[in-house]
Structure formats: structure tokens, C-alpha cells
């Protein structure tokens, strides 16, 4: 910029300097007929001055026009640019490879449009030797940025770029075509932020280059609307002097269905016991989807502890489950279906759901892995009333059908438990326990925070003050509320006989929306009550899920979430001391649901996404450094297996780390395995499922006008892929050069006329020829 400004200033000053130099270099003539000359000068002085001024201005304009024309030609002609020492022009092409680019609503996938646009960019820069091109996918940019390689990339190393600062030569079109052919939609949901941020860093680092940034994307609403980060990054790129071209590669989307959730619906995951699974399918389109089929497959893996099983040869037993048929899914709605799965042997088994093919295939498949234990262990801490423990045990495991294995013990069991001993239990019941020792409270708290579930039942032996001070501990403890007193529930009056008033909570699912529910027959005589002023409204972690009849709506059951675990406090007894619920048919079902509910903290069903990089920090005392990873291959349940050695952590000498996905191994949805070497128990397997991020399934496009509005004041060219011509810039530049040349010619003609008018043209008179021939000067 400064060079051109300097040249422009020189072009303006040059004629003036020539004029001044000519005034100094004039010919000197000692003249006799001065009187006539002075008379002519007096007469023509103003007109001569005006013509000379006009001539000077015209000549300045001519030089400036020449400068502009040369500059324009320099922009278009690389040979000229090289002669002028012009900067290299770097073309940064960012290609969206998120799975929404596989949208083939119009019959051709958006990524194919991106490939064709990339070819056109190749045509555009072909033969421009002073140019370079870099092609980066969104996903690669995201990984490089996360890996902190942007700075090293600025020095020329972009390890995951499809083309890295490729100098334009005779093979550039082939190179770009090959790069385009290698671009496939990933299973990732990568936003444009990382790519733009990476390019912004590169442009700012390479300040000696001109830059043009092409963004080839589908420009979905979810990615580009109200994204202040993108707007800011684009503004930074523009401020760095780069031109921005946003090329829309997607056509109007059709209806897209996606499996948004596949997870176990129950917490009791025991081999030999059916487990209900929950499947959610969402219609992301604008029209109702009808006759939707979902194919289900259960994959039972062999026992990994068997000695002859090695990671490379492991194969699941695949069992096709009945297909789910959904009549219709309204536009924008999510439909939930439940189905049972049954695995006869314990282990980490997988379930896969596959939707019928639609415009985006990637989100039509979902996997989940569930750990099926030999049995679900439940610990019941009994108080002085051992009948309650027996009733509870019977209700939880009637004949072993529920898969729960109930153990009973005293409060000392909590105190004496080792660090991880309590973690073996899905749920811990505390029935009318008087008080807990501090160590027991700490163990219980740690158990809950790590995902365990605890259910309190009050009773006449509860020490209310201890519960308030030690267990509630001003809201920091495991108990959900403070207790003030034991209250008696008055006799029911006519028309209001329901003692337990429930909310819409999963625990009460069987009795919700049922007239004449058996739960209405439960009579509660006494409950522990919190102070009058207590309220759960200000605490997001605490919820009252059932109250006792009466105007005061005193709480009966209160839930609290602590860490990853859940606590449920029932303020009446589990035995018949304070109520008759024990004899009500709703008690076993509600008890099982309570156990199921609080134990979900450990199996939260968190959906792991492709592209994530789970890390294992291994104690060197417990684990060997060799780790085996297995990732899904192209076929359904195929696998790729590789071994790594855990690397020591910088902050600890006793822990080594192994990371899965550091080299893009987790970019494919499916079932992944991690085999650790436990020094005591041998091999240790962790199997997990990774699925696509269905937020990418929203295919709504941002219109061109809305896109321009989103990027605000950033000056970017927004164009559809089919409007992106390979020679449009060249044509525009050529027409501009022609216009400049036309103006230049006109200005030159005006200059000639002015020069002739001002008598600056050489004379062809006899006298002049005589002087020229003899070189005579005065």
C-alpha cells in the first residue's frame, strides 16, 4: 500500500519537477526585439499560464492513469507483478467437511458442489505464477488449532492441510483436483470458527502476502446465525487486508431424520434381565415423515477376560431385533420409542439403530454400549428396626427377577468401607438410621459425588439434629433438607383423602394419570418436617417430588443431585411405623423406580461424540504402559486395532497417559475399545460408542441476505457455487483495465491538444530544421 502511495506521489510530483527543471534549464538568448516580445507576453500572460496549468494537470493525470493501469495489470498479470516486486497472493480455501455437507437434497451432495468450486478456483489461479494456494478442511483446521500447531503452521507446516502453500505451477490444476477428490464429508460437526481462526492467524503471520479467503460451506443457520466469534474473526481477516469470498454450496434442504438418542432406559443392567432401551428420532425437516422404519441390532461381545480372546480377533454375536415402525413424525418433532434388549451373559454389549436412508446418511445410525453386570448390588443400611430392611430387600428382589442383589448391613459398614468399596453398589438405602459417624458421612458423600445413588427413609429413630447439622450441613451435605420435627398428619377430611401428593416424576410413572390410583390408599401418619421457613425453590439441585396432604404442602420426598450422583430422601418410614405404604401394591414398584432413578447417576447415558479424544491417566503402579485401541472399520462391526505406549505426564511421575483420537481415529461413529494392562487383574476393557452430533442435522440454510446481515460490516462476496465463475475476476479486471486505457487515451489526446495549444510541440519550420542540423545553441 505504501509503495503504491509513494508511486502515486511520485507520479504527481514528476511533471512538476520536470517543469521546474525545465525552468532552470532554459536556453539563454540575448535579444534585441524585446519590446515586441514583452508586448506579446503582457497580452497573453494569463492565457499562457492557464494553458500551462491545464497541461501540467493533464500530464499528472496521465501519469496517475498509467500508474493505475500498471497496478491493475499487475494485479492480474503475475509476470508484471513479479517485475514490480509485488507481493505473493495466497489463496486460502476453507472447505466445510461436516457431515451436513453430505446433504444430497437436490440429487448432488453439497460436498460435490464444493469440489467443483475448488476446481473452478484451480482454473482461476492456473498460470498465475506469483500465487499460492492452501486448502484446509474445517475438521483439519479444528484439530490443528486444538493441537496448537497454528503457529508452526504459519511457518509453513500445516500437517493436515490438503494443500499447504502450494505454489501455482503447471500442475496446480491437477493438484487441486486431486485434493478436491480426497475431500469427503466427515462424521464430524465442525463449526467454521476454527478454520477461520487458523486462516486469520496465518494471514496475520504472513503479512508480506496478499490473501484471498474462500469459504466453501453449506452455511447452515445453526453454524452462522448469531455467531459473534465468526463475525469477529472475519473482521480480523478483513482488517489484515484479505478479500473474503463466501461460496454457498448447498441447495434447499429436504426432510432429514436423525437418531438423536439411543440409550438404556433402566438403571438395572444385569445379564439375563431384560433392559429397556430408549430411542429418539427427530424430524429436522419441514414436512411430516411417514412410515419410518428403524432397524435394531444387538451385538453381544464375548467375555474379554477369557484368555484366548485377543483384541484383534474379537467378534460380536449380532442379533437382529424387531424393526420399529413409526407411522409418522411431524416436522420438528421428536418421537421416542422404547424397546427391550436381552443379553444372557455379562459384558459390555452394543446396540445399533439404523434409520432408513435419507438426504443425510451420517445421522441415520446410532450406537450405544451398555455394561451388563452379573448382578446389580444394593446395600441396605438398617436401623434399629430390621423389619424394614427385610421388606425392602424383598421388594427389591422378589425371587431374583429384578437382577438386584441386596446386601444388608449396619451404619458401621459405611464407616469401614474402603475407598472404592462402596462403588460396587448401585444404590445404598439408609433406613431409619439414627446417626452416621463422620468417616461414614465422608465415604457416603464421596460415593454420591462419584455417581452413586442413596435413598433415605426416615423413622422414629432418626436424630433430626444430627441429620440437619451433619448430613444436611447447610446444604453442602448429602441430605437434601434440614429436619426440625416429627409431625403427625391429621385424619383426612371428606373429599381429601390422598396423603401422598406426587409430582410428574419418573419415580411415580406407574401411578401418574391414573384415576383411583392405589397410591391414594396410602395413609401417612407421621413424617419428619423441615423448618417452616425451608424451601427448595432457591436450590436448583434440590427438588420436592412428593408432598404430604395438607395446606402446608409439607415435603414427603425430596431429591438432591450431588456431583454425579442422586439422593432421595423419604421423610416417612420404610416400615409400617409411620404409614401403611408397605402394604400398598404401589410400594414395590415405586421402590424399584426409586432405586432405578437414583442409580442413573453412574450410567448417565452421556452421548459421546465422534472426534472426541478420551484420555486415560494410568497409575504406573496399577497399569502397564501398553494400551491397545480398537476402532470401527468400514464394515459394520469391523475393527482396526493398534497399540500405543502411554506417555508420562509432565505433572506426575506416577501417572502415564494414553489418548484415543489424537490422530483422528475417533472420527467415525461406532464402537471403540480400549484395552489396558492391569498389573493385578490382567486385561481391562473399556468399550464405548461414539455417535455423530445431531445438532449438525439441522439443514436449514441461511439466505444470502441473512448471511450478509450476520457478517455485518465485513465486506465479503457471497455467491452460490453455480455462480462462481473461474474467470469472473479476470473479466472484471480486464474490463477495468480497458476502461482505464480508454480514459488514458482520451487524456493523452487532451494533453496533445493542450500541448499544441500551448505551443509545446516542436516546430517544423526552416529555422528549427537548420538549428537541429547544425546543433547550434545560443
Amino acid at each position: 500500500m505504501w509503495v503504491w502511495a509513494g508511486l502515486a506521489a511520485a507520479m504527481v510530483l514528476l511533471p512538476i519537477l520536470i517543469h521546474l527543471i525545465n525552468r532552470l534549464r532554459h536556453r539563454r538568448v540575448r535579444w534585441a526585439a524585446m519590446e515586441f516580445l514583452l508586448a506579446s507576453h503582457r497580452k497573453n500572460r494569463n492565457w499562457v499560464w492557464l494553458r500551462q496549468l491545464l497541461l501540467l494537470l493533464t500530464r499528472i493525470a496521465v501519469l496517475l492513469l498509467i500508474l493505475v493501469a500498471v497496478g491493475q495489470v499487475g494485479c492480474e498479470s503475475d509476470n508484471m507483478a513479479r517485475l514490480l516486486g509485488q507481493r505473493i497472493t495466497h489463496h486460502y480455501v476453507l472447505v466445510d467437511d461436516s457431515f451436513s455437507m453430505s446433504d444430497n437434497s437436490s440429487g448432488t451432495a453439497a460436498v460435490e458442489h464444493a469440489r467443483q468450486t475448488l476446481d473452478m478456483i484451480g482454473d482461476r489461479i492456473d498460470g498465475r505464477n506469483n500465487h499460492r494456494v492452501t486448502v484446509i478442511r474445517f475438521s483439519a483446521a479444528d484439530r490443528m488449532l486444538q493441537a496448537g500447531r497454528a503457529t508452526s503452521g504459519s511457518s509453513g507446516s500445516l500437517p493436515q492441510a490438503d494443500l499447504n502453500s502450494r505454489t501455482v505451477d503447471r500442475d496446480i490444476k491437477k493438484a487441486i483436483r486431486d485434493a478436491a477428490a480426497g475431500i469427503e464429508p466427515s462424521f464430524l460437526s465442525t463449526r467454521p470458527d476454527a478454520g477461520l481462526e487458523l486462516v486469520s492467524q496465518l494471514i496475520q503471520t504472513r503479512s508480506d502476502e496478499n490473501a484471498i479467503v474462500y469459504v466453501l460451506s453449506d452455511f447452515r443457520t445453526r453454524d452462522w446465525q448469531t455467531q459473534t466469534g465468526i463475525k469477529q474473526t472475519l473482521a480480523e481477516i478483513e482488517a489484515a487486508g484479505a478479500a473474503i469470498e463466501l461460496i454457498r454450496c448447498a441447495d434447499a434442504p429436504a426432510t432429514n431424520l436423525a437418531i438423536t438418542s439411543l440409550q438404556a432406559d433402566g438403571s438395572v443392567r444385569v445379564a439375563g434381565v431384560p433392559l429397556m432401551m430408549q430411542l429418539k428420532i427427530r424430524n429436522f425437516g419441514n414436512e411430516t415423515a411417514r412410515k419410518v422404519q428403524v432397524e435394531l441390532v444387538a451385538a453381544a461381545y464375548p467375555d474379554e477376560t477369557t484368555l484366548d480372546i485377543v483384541p484383534e480377533s474379537i467378534e460380536p454375536e449380532v442379533d437382529e431385533l424387531p424393526t420399529i415402525l413409526i407411522d409418522e413424525i411431524p416436522a420438528g418433532e421428536t418421537v421416542t420409542r422404547r424397546f427391550p434388549v436381552f443379553f444372557s451373559r455379562p459384558g459390555q454389549h452394543a446396540i445399533r439403530a439404523v434409520l432408513q436412508t435419507d438426504v443425510v446418511p451420517a445421522d441415520n445410525r446410532a450406537w450405544t454400549v451398555t455394561q451388563f453386570a452379573p448382578a446389580a448390588r444394593v446395600l441396605v443400611i438398617e436401623g434399629p428396626d430390621s423389619d424394614a430392611a427385610r421388606f425392602i430387600s424383598l421388594a427389591l428382589s422378589p425371587g431374583g427377577m429384578t437382577g438386584l442383589q441386596v446386601e444388608t448391613g449396619s451404619a458401621a459398614r459405611l464407616r469401614d468401607a474402603g475407598e472404592t468399596e462402596l462403588d460396587q453398589y448401585e444404590t445404598i438405602f439408609l433406613l431409619d438410621v439414627d446417626r452416621l459417624e463422620d468417616l461414614a458421612i465422608r465415604n457416603l458423600r464421596r460415593y454420591v459425588e462419584s455417581g452413586g445413588g442413596v435413598i433415605f427413609f426416615a423413622g422414629p429413630n432418626c436424630n433430626l439434629k444430627h441429620y440437619t447439622v451433619k448430613l444436611f450441613d447447610q446444604g453442602r451435605g448429602v441430605f437434601p433438607l434440614p429436619l426440625a420435627r416429627v409431625a403427625s398428619i391429621p385424619e383426612p377430611v371428606a373429599g381429601n383423602t390422598t396423603d401422598i401428593v406426587v409430582t410428574r416424576h419418573p419415580v411415580f410413572a406407574p401411578v401418574l394419570d391414573i384415576d383411583n390410583s392405589p397410591l391414594d390408599l396410602v395413609q401417612v401418619a407421621r413424617v419428619c418436617q423441615p423448618p417452616i421457613e425451608w424451601s427448595a425453590d432457591g436450590d436448583n439441585a434440590t427438588t420436592v417430588i412428593a408432598t404430604v396432604r395438607g395446606q402446608a404442602q409439607m415435603p414427603l420426598m425430596v431429591e438432591k443431585r450431588l456431583g454425579q450422583g442422586r439422593v432421595l430422601a423419604t421423610l416417612t418410614s420404610a416400615s409400617g411405623a409411620w404409614n401403611n405404604w408397605l402394604r400398598n401394591p404401589t410400594f414395590p414398584a415405586t421402590l424399584l423406580l426409586m432405586q432405578d432413578h437414583v442409580s442413573r447417576g453412574r450410567a448417565s447415558g452421556q452421548r459421546r461424540l465422534v472426534g472426541s479424544t478420551p484420555q486415560w491417566d494410568l497409575s504406573v503402579d496399577q497399569y502397564g504402559p501398553d494400551v491397545v485401541f480398537a476402532s470401527p472399520a468400514d464394515d459394520e462391526f469391523g475393527r482396526s486395532v493398534w497399540k500405543v505406549t502411554a506417555t508420562p505426564r509432565a505433572d506426575s511421575t506416577s501417572v502415564v497417559s494414553a489418548r484415543l483420537g489424537a490422530d483422528n481415529e475417533t472420527d467415525r461413529p461406532g464402537v471403540y475399545e480400549t484395552w489396558l494392562t492391569n498389573r493385578q487383574s490382567g486385561r481391562e476393557l473399556s468399550r464405548q460408542a461414539l455417535n455423530v452430533d445431531t445438532s449438525e442435522s439441522h439443514l436449514q440454510l441461511l439466505s444470502r441476505r441473512d448471511l450478509l446481515a450476520e457478517i455485518g460490516e465485513v465486506k465479503a462476496r457471497v455467491v452460490d457455487w453455480d455462480q462462481f465463475g473461474p474467470a469472473s475476476r479476470g473479466r472484471r479486471g480486464t474490463s477495468l483495465v480497458r476502461l482505464i486505457l480508454a480514459v488514458l487515451i482520451i487524456t493523452l489526446l487532451v494533453e496533445q491538444l493542450l500541448a499544441r495549444s500551448a505551443s509545446f510541440h516542436p516546430s517544423t519550420s526552416r529555422k528549427h530544421r537548420w538549428l537541429l542540423a547544425r546543433g547550434v545553441s545560443h
Binding site: N22, R23, R25, H26, R27, R28, V29, R30, W31, A32, A33, M34, E35, F36, L37, L38, A39, S40, H41, K43, N44, V48, R51, Q52, A758, S759, F760, H761, P762, S763, S765, R766, K767, H768, W770, V776, H778
Partner: protein, 300 residues
């Protein structure tokens, strides 16, 4: 061009350093180019016979008539009056201008010397003066052949300078040369035109024939200059930086007006006027003089 004429061109004349040689060369070259001079020997013309009366000079008796008729007659001739020619040569600073060949001053001196040589060859008397703002030197009117040396010496001015005041000069000439004769003015006339013409009229009123040789350089008449030029006045400190072609039209207009004024003024007072370019061959000027000289006979 005959060889004799070729050496009359100013470029050739310039190579002759000494003015008297230059003048002789010109005149002899000019005369040798004429096959028969109608003017040569015409200064003594026979008019009629008259009967002798005592007291007449016996040298004028026509003895051939006495021998045939025995009567004494004397020959009567047209009055043998030597023409008095006065050369008024401008030596002002403006006469210093010249480009390529002779300067105006050199041309004027050569012309004056040539005229003087020619006049002396015709037995006429010639004198004159050189002038700028005033009279620089005065040359007495004589008809001896060696008078040419005095004339040449008077014309040899170290360096022309100063402005011209022609009226004063002409007035002084009229007083200096009271006898009627021919006043030949050789000048560029770069002075106040009105007073110049008044001076010429004064000479005419004193009975002089006036012949004006207006010497101008080609540059002054054509003004073919190009490129940025700094013009410095030869007679003053005036300076003008200009593009000459831009001023040419105005210059030519002013010059034409000057020349017209001079030409018409001379015609009005019946003074002969000739605009001479310093590039013109000198024989043409001499021819112009002789034709004018013949005309003067008729006019008188």
C-alpha cells in the same frame, strides 16, 4: 548562381576579416557580374554647343567644329556635381544580435563600406556618422579613393552598446551635413518609431534624399524559437522566461505593426525604404541602391 555572386553571400563575406577588403570584394564582385554597366561613366554628360565668348575656358572649345566650320564653339556639359552621400550607421546594442552568419551590426558595416566603395568608384563624395544614443564618430564627406580607409576605421566600433535615439541622431546629421545629398540610414530602427519618422522627415525637409536600409535578423522576422527560453534584452536589463512559441503570434503581430508603421511613414515622407534580412546577399542591396540612385535622377 554565378561564381561572382556566390562570394557575395553573407556567409562567405563573414570569412573576410578586414572590412575594406570585404567592401572591395563585394563591389568588385558585384560590378564584374554586370556585363555592361549602364551607370559607369555617366557622371560627365554632354549637353549642347554654345558660341565661344571671351573668357571661356579654351579646354572646352570643340576643335573639331572649328576645323569644319571655322567657328569657335564650346561644349556645354551637364553640371558636374559630385553626389554627396551620407552614411548613418546604427551601432546601438540591439545591432549586436545575429545568428549563424553576420550580426546586424556586421551586416550594416559591411553594407555601409560596400556602398562607400561603390560611391567612391563613381567619383562621388561619401561621408557619414555612426551612432547609438548619440553620435559615436563622424566621417567627413570626401570623394578621394583612399577615403574608404577613414570610413572603415570609423565603422570599426569596439562593441555596439547603448540604446538608439534616432531623432537626435538625425537632427545632428542634418546640422552636420547641411548640403543636400543622400542620407543612407542603416539601422534596425529599434527606437521610438514616431520620433524616428520625425527625424527622417527632418532630413527630407532639409533637402536630403533619404534611403533607409532596415536591417533585421531572420530570428527577429520569423521568431522560430522552441523550448523554454530566457530572453535577455541587449539594450536593457529586461529578462523574460517563456515558451517562445506561445508568444509567437503576439510577437509577430507587434512586429508587423512596427514594420507597417515604418514602411508607411517612409513612404509618406518619400524616403526610400528597404527591409534587409541579414541573410540577404549584399549585391541585392547594392542593386537596390543603384536603382534607387537612378530613380533619384528622375525624381530630381
Amino acid at each position: 548562381m554565378p561564381d561572382s555572386k556566390r562570394f557575395l553571400h553573407p556567409e562567405a563575406i563573414r570569412r573576410i576579416a578586414r572590412l575594406e577588403i570585404r567592401a572591395r570584394h563585394i563591389v568588385e564582385g558585384f560590378l564584374s557580374g554586370m556585363h555592361r554597366s549602364p551607370y559607369f561613366g555617366q557622371s560627365i554628360e554632354f549637353l549642347q554647343h554654345r558660341q565661344y565668348t571671351p573668357g571661356d575656358d579654351l579646354r572646352h572649345v570643340d576643335w573639331q567644329v572649328w576645323a569644319r566650320q571655322d567657328r569657335l564653339y564650346v561644349k556645354q556639359y551637364e553640371e558636374e556635381t559630385n553626389m554627396r552621400c551620407h552614411l548613418l550607421v546604427d551601432c546601438s546594442g540591439s545591432m549586436l544580435y545575429g545568428d549563424g552568419h553576420l550580426s546586424k551590426y556586421e551586416y550594416a558595416c559591411t553594407l555601409a563600406a560596400s556602398l562607400a566603395w561603390l560611391i567612391l568608384r563613381q567619383q562621388d563624395a561619401v561621408g557619414g556618422m555612426t551612432f547609438d544614443a548619440g553620435v559615436r564618430s563622424r566621417i567627413p564627406v570626401k570623394s578621394k579613393r583612399n577615403h574608404i580607409m577613414s570610413i572603415v576605421k570609423a565603422l570599426d566600433v569596439d562593441r555596439p552598446q547603448d540604446k538608439t535615439q534616432l531623432f537626435d541622431v538625425f537632427q545632428r546629421a542634418a546640422e552636420t551635413f547641411p548640403r543636400r545629398g543622400m542620407m543612407i540610414v542603416v539601422s534596425d530602427l529599434f527606437a521610438d518609431t514616431e520620433t524616428t519618422l520625425k527625424g527622417l522627415q527632418l532630413l527630407r525637409q532639409r533637402g536630403h534624399d533619404v534611403m533607409v536600409f532596415h536591417i533585421m535578423d531572420d530570428d527577429e522576422l520569423d521568431f522560430d524559437f522552441d523550448g523554454p527560453t530566457r530572453f535577455e534584452d541587449l539594450e536593457s536589463d529586461s529578462v523574460l522566461n517563456c515558451n517562445p512559441r506561445a508568444l509567437r503570434d503576439g510577437y509577430m503581430t507587434a512586429l508587423d505593426e512596427f514594420l507597417d508603421t515604418v514602411r508607411h511613414g517612409c513612404a509618406r515622407i518619400m524616403a526610400d525604404y528597404a527591409l534587409i534580412r541579414t541573410s540577404d546577399p549584399l549585391d541585392a542591396v547594392l542593386a537596390h541602391y543603384l536603382s534607387n540612385r537612378l530613380g533619384m535622377h528622375h525624381r530630381n
